[in-house]
């Protein structure tokens, strides 16, 4: 397995308990779907190298426990995440309603620039759907999120979700909106690249950052 990659993105998978976060991750890294898996304890971890726009990028994905009691544990992993999948369950209104809280946590604990993709999982269970696509789309639009409906069971849109999020991050790096060299950016240069893309970093620094240093 070649460990050579150009970028490393730190990813989070967050959302209420039982929305299928671990299933999404497992599907993405190529494991079989299990009908009744246990709740995640703390966080779990998975990584995969994907090719985004010709650049091999390692995704370091932290799959967090959705249960409230693990909040304190999982929060510590938010720090410095470059991207996040915010997952809700299309068959659970509660999980959709909790999105706002999760979103706030992510934006405050990770970084304000974190790229978040809203994921409506379990779209295969169409008959028990409680959250409509348009409704979720509206929420995504209001909060400036990307949005996809997926099924970890069938694998539909799972890879797309991670890739779409990664592409957006990469695009932001290329426009200079994100600086890989800033600590806590959740982005690292990999083994297979020089830091040539890091050139435009300085000019994009905000004045407030400079003020902090003084």
């Amino acid at each position: 397995m070649s460990e050579s990659y150009e970028y490393l993105f730190k990813f989070l998978v967050i959302g209420s308990a039982g929305t299928g976060k671990s299933s999404l991750l497992n599907n993405f890294i190529g494991n079989k779907f299990k009908e009744d898996r246990c709740h995640t304890i703390g966080v779990e971890f998975g990584s995969k190298i994907v090719n985004i726009g010709g650049k091999s990028t390692k995704l370091q994905i932290w799959d967090t426990a959705g249960q409230e009691r693990f909040r304190s544990v999982t929060r510590s992993y938010y720090r410095g995440a470059a991207g996040a999948l915010l997952v809700y369950d299309v068959t659970s209104r509660d999980s959709f309603n909790a999105l706002a809280n999760w979103l706030r946590d992510a934006r405050t604990l990770a970084s304000p620039n974190i790229v978040i993709l809203l994921v409506g999982n379990k779209k295969d269970l169409e008959e028990s759907r409680e959250v409509t696509f348009t409704e979720a789309s509206q929420f995504a639009q209001d909060n400036e999120l990307m949005f996809l409906e997926t099924s970890a069971k069938t694998g539909e849109n799972v890879e797309e979700a991670f890739l779409k999020c990664s592409k957006t991050i990469l695009a932001k790096i290329e426009t200079g909106e994100l600086d890989p060299e800033r600590i806590g950016s959740g982005i690292q240069y990999g083994t297979g690249t020089s830091k040539r893309l890091g050139a435009p970093k300085r000019p994009t620094r905000t004045p407030s950052d400079c003020a902090c240093r003084v």
Partner: protein, 988 residues
């Protein structure tokens, strides 16, 4: 009568000319004799009795035939025939007969003339004178007149002898003379005839008699001939006809047989082909052999001579066909077909050669099967591709399936061979008894037996070689865990198969599996270590909310091991006995597949739902159902018990502090242990790697939480801890150590990350406990001689983990208590007071205040994490330790000290300890001896003080010098002791 004569006479024409030719020379024609006999009669009797009317010229009587006429004639014969030569020999010719006849007739005629002439001629009463005269006359008759009339003409003679000068007288005279002579002769003849009449009559009677006998004989002969003819007709001839017919039939039969033979010989090829398609190999070979024999027996037929060579071709061809059938045995052994083949080869006398051939076929079958098994997984295969190259081009995703295919295909060959060997041993037993005397056969059989026995190993080695080649070209390290396990399962099954197959422990493959497994697990471990590093670097050191009863057994990864941790279970024996049962079951189970025709032991791998336990034939977890009542519920609650979190620290008997990383390490351990279940042979290696995870965790906690330790560490590290850290730092060279995180908040308010420190240390303590739980099980899965290593790890690593509390907690304690300001405060105290003070010094209150703040902050921490007494005590212990060192340091800073000052010191630290006891709950305060002893040494006499200085290594030189300075008023003593202190240092 002669047999041959009959044949000649009777049915000669019916016999083949050859026969006739054969017989011809032997024939004797006796008929001629017969005929000759009849001819013996001077007169042809046949002619005599022939019917013809004859008239007697004398008496005018009529006769029916010549014979009776002649007999009658005799009556008239009166002329004596004395002078007539009537006694002619029996065998006289016709002319003589005629002569006789003529003479007689002549005489008779003359007699009759005489009757008419002068009388008395015929008178019988002749006188003697007359007789004498007559005799004289007779004498005068010239001899010439007795010449037969044919040669002599009497008249002419008389005329010729008439004298030339003729005169009547003379003639008369002559006439008279002749007349006289004639009369005398006639008379004489008559006389003779009459004289001979009786004789003649008697002869005639005799003749008559003979005639009668002859006729009788003739009729007998005729009858006999008749009878014989009928006899021959009825008996001999028909029998001979029958015989002849039989012979003919036999000849025809033999001809027919030959023709049949010819026909069968001509159709041998076809018949053989037919027999072979019917799988009647023995019969086919037999047919050819017989045909060959028949052909060689009938070489005289030209067409057969041609056939003979063709038969050889047919035999060769048939042998080839047999060979191909033989080779098909390699893939699917059919005892019935093989028995036929064997008998056919026996008949050919090529049993041994066939065996060699069969082994060759098996070898090539292994090659071919291997090739065929891998081929479908590779694109663009040419026949020239070597197996190794082929294996190399198998895409990694298809490799497990390909391996499965390979094993299955090879298994078929193995099974076929296994059945062959079984067949032989079965048939050998049955045939041994019957042919016990046949040494040569026995030798050959023994040879075959050895060959078969060796063949088992050889084929297995071939198979092993193929599989190894395949595996070597894969690079197993890169496979996902599940696939790797699956492939291992396949290989394991293969080794089990081999055990049944040839009793071989398949060391080659096992070694290969072992090395591959080790390298796989090392590679896998590398990944886990990197992951662990990542986890540790990202770890928030927050307590993971798990139930207070949580142990690693609650994790899914350990579900299968639960039964090994039952306290009453005798793990060693139970697991051993169950494993031996397994292997027995396995062999029975596997041998079942050897005797089945359709299924293979590998087909379970084709099943999508097959679990690893199924693959490895491990017992399903029976205990699960037993405990199902409380277990799932607990799993659902994720071991969380919120109530525990709220408990106050002192009440918690034992808290479970685990971090997310701890759990992930435990999970990894679970997976490692699962690997050991499947690979018991590398259990130790896996355990060592597992321990490495632990070591790394431990190392990281130490690194993270002692890096900011700013007090002298010599008394904080136990010697075992030092050894442990040294050992780990050696090992960790191969893995990059984690970078110390910067995200951890270390402020005064949170006691400089005390919460994180506690979580870090306590989580490793917890982890050590979990490892200890595992130890009995681990000991059961490693070999006896390897247990030492585990014990060493337990005694020198797990048992030492608690020691890490000191340096880590000290880091917080030392920072929280602000040594600098305390020391400054202490230095402001006057220790050379004359009177003992009533009040303790101000710095005590200052320190107590710090302790109070510390206690408050600790309380805050206990809201977040469950602190049990051990932890709290450990923390307070470090606080106490820091305080005593602080005090000693402060006291040693006093350049002058009176007895009163010493008292004040005691008053101060007593007061401090009372307060500390109250706040911390520690009773007694640990380490207080340290300060107590130091302060009281002031009161020791000189020699005891010297001893104190020499032995108390826990105090620094500075402390001791200060002590001496204060305690010794005598300058010389002071110098002596000071040099003792310095000497101590040099000695150390």
């Amino acid at each position: 009568m002669d047999f041959a004569e009959f044949i000649k006479q009777e049915r000669l024409e019916e016999f083949p000319p050859a026969w006739i030719a054969d017989v011809k020379g032997e024939f004797v024609f006796e008929n001629e004799n017969y005929q000759i006999k009849t001819e013996d009669l001077s007169i042809d009797y046949k002619d005599l009795i022939k019917e013809a009317k004859r008239l007697c010229i004398v008496c005018n009587k009529v006769f029916s035939n010549s014979y009776s006429y002649l007999v009658h004639n005799i009556d008239h014969l009166t002329i004596p025939l004395d002078k007539l030569n009537i006694e002619v020999p029996l065998q006289q010719n016709d002319s003589q007969k005629q002569q006789l006849h003529y003479s007689c007739v002549n005489m008779l005629t003359e007699e009759m003339d005489n009757r008419h002439g002068p009388p008395g001629v015929n008178s019988r009463s002749l006188t003697a004178a007359q007789s004498a005269a007559e005799l004289e006359v007779l004498k005068e008759i010239e001899n010439v007149y007795f010449t037969p009339p044919s040669e002599f003409n009497a008249a002419r003679y008389a005329l010729e002898h008439v004298p030339s000068y003729t005169n009547c007288d003379e003639i008369e005279q002559m006439f008279t003379k002749l007349k006289r002579q004639q009369q005398v002769v006639s008379g004489k003849a008559l006389h003779l005839i009459s004289q001979q009449r009786d004789n003649c009559d008697r002869e005639f009677g005799e003749i008559q008699n003979i005639r009668q006998q002859l006729s009788e004989t003739l009729s007998t002969c005729k009858k006999a001939r008749e009878k014989l003819r009928s006899a021959s007709n009825h008996l001999t001839i028909s029998t001979f006809v029958i015989l002849a017919n039989v012979r003919k039939r036999q000849i025809i039969k033999s001809v027919l047989k030959s023709l049949d033979l010819l026909r069968s010989l001509r159709s041998v090829e076809k018949d053989v082909a037919e027999l072979i398609t019917k799988k009647q190999y023995f019969e086919a070979i037999e047919l050819i052999m017989q045909s060959k024999k028949a052909a060689s027996n009938n070489k005289e037929y030209k067409c057969i001579a041609d056939l003979a060579s063709r038969l050889q071709d047919t035999l060769d061809m048939t042998e080839e066909k047999l060979d191909s059938v033989l080779s098909s045995m390699c893939y699917n052994f059919d005892p019935i077909v093989f028995a036929k083949l064997k008998s056919a080869y026996d008949l050919l006398g090529k049993t041994q050669a066939a065996m060699e051939q069969l082994h060759m076929h098996y070898s090539s079958a292994v090659n071919e099967s291997a090739f065929e098994a891998v081929k479908p997984f590779v694109d663009n295969v040419s026949m020239e591709t070597k197996f190794q190259e082929l294996c190399r081009s198998v895409p990694t995703t298809k490799a497990p399936l390909c391996l499965l295919n390979l094993c299955e295909k090879l298994f078929l060959v193995m099974r076929s061979y296994y059945l062959l060997v079984n067949w032989y041993s079965k048939h050998e037993e049955s045939s041994m008894v019957t042919n016990v005397f046949d040494i040569e056969k026995n030798v050959s059989r023994e040879y075959i037996k050895q060959k078969l026995k060796g063949g088992l190993i050889r084929i297995w080695n071939d198979v092993q070689g193929k599989v190894s080649t395949f595996l070597k070209s894969l690079g197993l390290e890169e496979y996902p865990f599940e696939k790797f396990i699956q492939m291992l399962g396949i290989l394991r099954k293969l080794t089990q198969v081999a055990e049944v197959f040839c009793g071989d422990t398949s060391d080659l493959l096992r070694d290969f599996i072992k090395t591959q497994s080790v390298s796989y697990i090392k590679n896998y471990h590398k990944g886990r270590m990197e992951e662990l590093k990542l986890f540790l670097e990202n770890e928030g050191w927050e307590q993971c909310p798990v139930k207070s009863t949580f142990t690693l057994l609650n994790l899914q990864e350990f579900k299968q091991f639960k039964r090994y941790f039952k306290p009453k279970n005798d793990i060693g024996t139970s697991s051993q006995s169950s494993s031996s049962v397994h292997s027995l079951d396995n062999s029975v189970y596997i041998s079942k597949y050897f005797n089945e025709t359709t299924r293979t032991p590998f087909e379970m791998f084709r099943n999508e739902n097959v679990t690893n336990d199924d693959i490895f034939g491990l017992e399903p977890e029976s205990e699960v159902s037993e405990e199902s009542d409380d277990e799932p519920e607990e799993l659902k609650r994720d071991f969380v018990d919120d109530a525990d979190v709220q408990n106050s620290p002192s009440k918690v008997a034992h808290s479970v502090i685990v971090t997310n990383t701890t759990l992930s390490v435990l999970r990894n351990c679970g997976q490692y242990l699962q690997i050991t279940r499947y690979l018991p042979q590398i259990a130790l290696e896996v355990i060592m790697l597992m321990n490495q995870l632990f070591d790394y965790y431990f190392f990281t906690v130490h690194l993270f939480f002692t890096s900011d330790l700013d007090v002298a560490s010599s008394t904080l590290y136990t010697s075992k801890l030092n050894l442990l850290l040294k050992r780990i730092s050696n090992i960790e060279d191969s893995f990059s150590s984690p970078s110390i995180p910067e995200h951890l908040e270390k402020t005064e308010a949170n006691l400089h990350g005390l919460s994180e420190r506690i979580v870090g240390v306590e989580s490793i303590v917890f982890l050590a406990k979990q490892f200890e739980i595992l130890q009995p099980y681990l000991e059961s899965i490693v070999a006896q001689h390897q247990r030492m290593i585990l014990e060493h790890f337990r005694d020198n690593t797990l048992a030492v983990v608690g020691d890490l509390r000191m340096p880590v907690y000290m880091a917080s304690a030392s920072k929280a208590l602000d040594a600098r300001s305390a020391l400054i405060a202490m230095s402001q105290v006057r220790w050379d007071v004359k009177t003992v003070a009533e009040e303790h010094s101000a710095y005590v209150d200052m320190i107590v205040r710090k302790i109070q703040v510390f206690a408050l902050r600790l309380e805050n921490i206990s809201q977040k994490i469950t602190l049990n007494v051990d932890i709290v005590n450990a923390v307070w212990g470090m606080v106490a330790k820091f305080i005593v060192h602080l005090l000693v340091e402060g006291f040693s800073n006093a350049s002058k000290c009176s007895n009163g000052g010493r008292g004040l010191m005691q008053l101060d630290y007593r007061q401090l300890f009372v307060k500390l006891e109250k706040i911390s709950g520690l009773k007694p305060i640990p380490y207080q001896d340290y300060v107590d002893r130091y302060v009281k040494a002031y009161y020791l006499p000189r020699n005891e003080l010297e001893e104190f200085v020499r032995d108390r290594v826990e105090y620094s030189n500075k402390h001791l010098i200060a002590l001496i300075t204060c305690a010794c008023e005598n300058k010389r003593d002071r110098q002596a002791l000071s040099s003792a202190v310095e000497g101590r240092e040099a000695a150390m």
